[in-house]
Amino acid sequence: MKKILKAALIATFSVASISVAQADGHGWKPSGPIKMIIAFAAGGGADTQARLIADDIQKATGWEVIPEQVTGKGGVNALVALRDMPADGTAIAMVVTESLGYNAAASKGSGIVPSGFTGLTTTAGFQMGVVAKVDKGWNSFEDMLAEAQNGNLRFGTMSPKLSDLAFLLGEAQGVEFNIVQVAGGRAVMNGVQAGDMDLGFMAGIQRKGVASGDLVNLASALSTPLVQTPDAPTFADLGVQYNADGYFVFVAPGGMDPKARDAITAAIVEATKSGQASGMINNAFGGAITIQGAELDALLQSDFESASALMAAVQ
């Protein structure tokens, strides 16, 4: 009985290994299935993006990619889970740059620092705007400001960093906001729509509403103007020296083999430029932005370092 079982196991295994060998056409291949940790709630835009990328990679390379949700604490939970995984290319995670920047700096107890990870590539940026409902009757940032003088407006945000930015915006403009922090961009959207909040940060989810004349971008929280509403002032114009520039980013555990890093990065970039993922990224996030290598390392490090200055500014 044992011998038969053993023979059967060996036979099956050798068949399996042949099929793996056939699928492989690149210089590097993972030693097993790749675990892709997704730091976003299932079903949202970010989750869909990650799953489509996983699908595209699998189709293009034959590597098996297994998506898995690890949500919470602004991506810090996902990074904690990733940190202890093998750095051989069998574990990667999709987070946002803020996870490794502000959130890592704020959660000192977790011990997350950018140098503990290998950055692969960003996939898309946020179109972070300060958005309100058109019903409010505000056509511009000044209109909103005029009303903010009369009483505290409710400002919806979705992370501590954005709450800090909202506070600094109020301070720079000499008004006070009641900052209402909720979980995720969709919650801000719902709150603004339901009238629970007067205005709020939205990172791209507002696109259709703005296009249909339902919502209005009052300001760009980025260092650059918004693509959709280029006339809206940026945070720098409004006297805030910090901004909400940020990207979706794939990372792997620290000290990864450069070969693996290059191969996986290339596969992700390919997915953002072609395939199902590219269509989705164009639609929802205004096109792919792929920052990689040394440039990405520098970006992550500077985000992390500037976080403490921002935290000190709101004390």
Binding site: L9, F13, I66, P67
Partner: protein, 180 residues
């Protein structure tokens, strides 16, 4: 006082002690922000507030149970023994489930179990053996009779469940393959 209502009073005391413990020991030691805290020069609700209110709710529930005990429910030593029996079955079968695959793989391959965790038949080994043990063990305990038939049912069920999840879906990992 009937035995049922006195056991409800014990229950009330237990939860009274439990709620005092969480409000005065667990919550203060295990939350970083207080009941309220000052952030951006304004008060916001801290992480300790909601658990503390919850502790108070449990206290109130315990007091109500003490004042108005109901009858007919008692938790006996037999129930404790039953829990221990269940735990033993789960501990044994889950440990077998977790480690059988890696142990078998050690005998065959230098690379270990991890690269094989999504490859049949390796990914089934732990689940089949552990699942058979769990179902067979539970059937035996419930009917107070150790029978081959129970384990046969266990094996058949584990196999069907394994195939049900593994055949149609590429992305799913059977126990314990996400842990290795």
């Amino acid at each position: 006082m009937k035995s049922g209502s006195s056991s409800d009073r014990w229950l009330a005391l237990f939860f009274l002690a439990f709620s005092i413990l969480i409000v005065f020991v667990w919550i203060p030691l295990d939350t970083e922000t207080g009941l309220v805290e000052k952030v951006r020069r304004k008060f916001v609700i801290g992480d300790a507030l909601a658990p503390t209110i919850t502790g108070v709710i449990i206290t109130l529930g315990a007091i109500m149970t003490w004042l108005q005990p109901s009858q007919g429910h008692t938790f006996t030593r037999k129930n404790v023994i039953w829990i221990l029996q269940l735990l033993a079955i789960f501990a044994i079968s889950l440990i077998i489930m977790r480690y059988t695959g890696p142990i078998v793989a050690m005998g065959f391959e230098g690379g270990g179990y991890r690269p094989l965790r999504a490859t049949p038949p390796w990914n089934y080994i732990g689940f089949l053996v552990g699942g058979t043990m769990m179902i067979g063990g539970l059937i035996a305990t419930a009917s107070r009779r150790l029978s081959i038939r129970g384990f046969a049912i266990g094996f058949a069920t584990s196999l069907i469940i394994a195939l049900l999840y593994d055949m149609p879906f590429d992305d799913l990992l059977l126990p314990p393959n996400g842990d290795v």
